[in-house]
């Protein structure tokens, strides 16, 4: 894949969590980057040097048999225009509305051919209001209604716990505990006025699990939480080499049957007969993967994380284990994804 692709950062967060404050901070920081911003309304961010384009959140279902496969038609149009401009951009930031489900934004970069070739999704950053978020995160919605705040946390690669200056230590620890229940995989950065080290948010390659583990080896260590019908995460570490055919079959079946409930999945996998790490990531049923760096002398350990609703740790772990090559007769890879 062409790594001159422009990194795209998606900024989500509930109403009043400080998305626009963070956006303004990113734009005003002296980083020398040309940034294009796609936001919901004109005028929210203010800097002369940035190109700001308004989006209208048009979410379309794809006609591909995948019930949760939706894309943002407005993003495809706007980015199509941006990518043809003479003044090239170093980075694109997409701000979503407070009520938005991040999945269609992420899936747009999986589905659209031109965007896949020109852009890479770098990370989904979710802003959380340390003082008020708990009531949203624990709110029980009526049947068939999603809790958008929970989904935004579930999809996050990084979480900025903002407004800690107005939240008590108890309020902060309560909201952190709730976030960890939902998404134990996303590092949390506490901030006042969205004041976070931008190197923790930009160009982090959060869709590449290897990069995440390089920065945070404990990323997959599971926290103690209750598994129920709420949204949670399951991390799995497993030694041994995987049979690519069994893995494809298992993942295809798993995401096909439960992709609606599995919001995100990422993995670094050791494929039998191949010397390179296989990096895998998915949003709902849409997944992609590629062989990246060589294992070299490092230990070949498979690492997977699933974030979603109704996750069954035992079932996921057992299914994953069954993909391990039972005897060490190497198979030839049919092809690289």
């Amino acid at each position: 894949m062409n790594e001159s692709r422009i990194p795209v950062t998606v900024l989500t967060g509930f109403l009043g969590s400080g998305k626009t404050t963070l956006l303004n901070r990113i734009l005003n920081e002296n980083h020398g980057m040309r940034i294009a911003v796609i936001e919901n309304e004109f005028g929210e961010v203010g800097i002369d040097d940035a190109l700001v384009m308004a989006a209208d959140e048009e979410i379309f279902e794809m006609n591909n048999g995948c019930i949760c496969c939706t894309v943002r038609g407005d993003l495809i149009r706007i980015l199509g225009n941006l990518l043809q401009r003479k003044d090239k951009f170093d980075r694109i930031l997409i701000e979503t509305t407070g009520m938005a489900d991040p999945a269609p934004v992420a899936q747009t970069f999986f589905v659209d051919d031109e965007l896949k070739e020109s852009c890479r999704l770098d990370a989904i950053i979710t802003m959380v209001d340390a003082k008020h978020a708990l009531q949203h995160l624990t709110e029980i919605k009526e049947k068939n209604f999603e809790n958008e705040a929970v989904e935004q946390v579930a999809f996050a690669d990084r979480i900025v716990l903002n407004k800690v200056d107005i939240a008590t230590p108890q309020e902060q620890s309560d909201v952190v505990a709730e976030i960890k229940k939902i998404n134990s995989a996303a590092p949390i950065f506490k901030a006042e006025n969205a004041n976070v080290d931008l190197s923790e948010l930009l160009d982090i390659g959060a869709f590449d699990l290897q990069k995440v583990l390089d920065n945070d080896p404990a990323f997959l260590i599971d926290t103690d939480h209750v598994h129920d019908s709420s949204i949670s995460s399951v991390g799995i570490e497993l030694a041994g080499d995987l049979d690519i055919e069994k893995l494809n079959k298992w993942l295809g079946k798993l995401l096909g049957e439960k992709g609606t409930d599995i919001f995100r999945s990422k993995g670094i996998l050791s494929i039998d007969g191949n010397d390179e790490r296989y990096c895998f990531h998915a949003v709902h049923m849409l997944f992609s993967g590629e062989f990246t760096s060589a294992w070299g002398k490092s230990e070949r350990i498979n690492k997977m994380v699933f974030i979603g609703r109704n996750l069954n740790r035992k079932e996921l772990t057992d299914g994953f284990k069954k993909c391990i090559v039972s005897n060490k007769t190497s198979k030839t890879l049919a092809g690289k994804k």
């Binding site: 048009e58 379309f60 794809m62 407005d74 706007i78 401009r85 003479k86 589905v111 659209d112 051919d113």
Partner: protein, 335 residues
């Protein structure tokens, strides 16, 4: 005196995304930021014509070549084509289509979720209600208007006021109506082509393209339709009962999908195609066999490896002008 343009490529300092011919020797180019410049293929002179504050998606000249319509991410604008004077503009919504009525006295714009028809000076004649999504394409069918939006194509009455929606599936990216109005075809985000036969409500769907279909164009007499969506351009016969049960003629060996498809305005069987690595070819459908790859009539040496954004036929049908995204422009004789 007939001016003879140089066969050598020339370069402009913008990245054109669309172009149109002022005459056989002068071309107008638009970039994504809304800069519009005039290029003389004879003298190689480049003149900044005007700047559309609405940004740039497409440009379209009136049939008498006097008025230039420009559409962009922030709306649409009309300019005098000789000196670039702004006549009218409307801002506030995405606009991707400007199409002139054959009479030249009206122009159809998409504007966000609606369409707007104005006279040559931008005075509104028709303003529609909102459709189901941002309008992605629109077309005249005689005096009627066909509009593509998510999930359907809506066709108006001859006053352009009352629309009847025909259900299409999914996200429509482009629309083409045959000159007789018998057929309406859309290219789609889900890599398919949907066909609607107006007379009996028949629908067809061609699926399985490897990429989304962004260009679908009928030829001069409406008997052929060409579309991208694969490394080859496919051309479907709409003669007689149409494409049902028939295989397309294949225009092979393009890369990254056809980025520009242009039918000759003088010979209904000639088509020019360009692709994402700058390849440019002309094909003669008279030599084509259904289901078979066609050999190009003209296979030009690449002058740029940048995507071909526009191919313009001259008024005699004897040459084409290729416009690449990196600003390389040249003419090639086809006969």
């Amino acid at each position: 005196m007939i001016a003879v343009s140089s066969p050598l490529p020339m370069s402009v300092d913008i990245n054109p995304i669309d172009a149109c011919s002022l005459d056989d020797e002068r071309v107008l180019l638009l970039d994504a930021e809304g800069h519009i410049c005039e290029v003389s293929l004879t003298s190689h002179e480049v003149t900044q014509k005007c700047e559309a504050s609405v940004g740039g998606n497409r440009i379209s000249l009136s049939p008498n070549r006097e008025i230039l319509a420009c559409v962009g991410p922030e709306g649409f604008a009309l300019f005098k084509s000789d000196d670039g004077t702004l006549l009218e503009s409307r801002r506030g919504s995405w606009s991707s289509v400007a199409k002139w009525h054959e009479s030249g006295n009206r122009v159809l714009f998409t504007f966000g979720k609606s369409i707007c028809v104005t006279d040559s000076y931008g005075v509104p004649i028709v303003e529609s209600e909102n459709f189901s999504s941002t309008v992605t394409d629109a077309s005249w069918i005689g005096d009627k208007i066909a509009v593509a939006a998510y999930g359907g194509v809506s066709v108006s009455d001859e006053q352009g006021s009352k629309f009847i929606k025909r259900e299409f599936v999914g996200s429509l990216l482009c629309l083409s109506a045959s000159p007789t109005g018998d057929w309406i075809v859309s290219g789609n985000q889900d890599a398919s082509l949907q066909v609607y036969k107006v007379s009996d409500d028949t629908r067809l769907e061609m699926q399985g393209f490897p990429r989304k279909v962004t260009i679908a164009q009928f030829n001069l007499d409406g008997k052929w339709l060409a579309n991208n969506g694969a490394n080859e351009v496919t051309v479907w016969s709409f003669a007689g009962k149409g494409p049902k049960g028939r295989s397309p003629v294949i225009l092979p060996k393009h890369v990254g999908g056809g980025t520009a498809i242009s039918w000759s305005k003088t010979d209904a069987s000639l088509i020019a195609t360009g692709d994402s690595i700058g390849q440019l070819r002309v094909w003669d459908l008279k030599l084509g066999l259904e289901g078979k790859p066609l050999y190009p009539r003209n296979h030009f040496e690449s002058m740029s490896n940048s995507p071909v954004k526009s191919i313009l036929w001259d008024s005699h049908g004897s040459s084409i002008i290729a416009v690449h995204n990196d600003g390389i422009i040249y003419r090639r004789e086809t006969s």
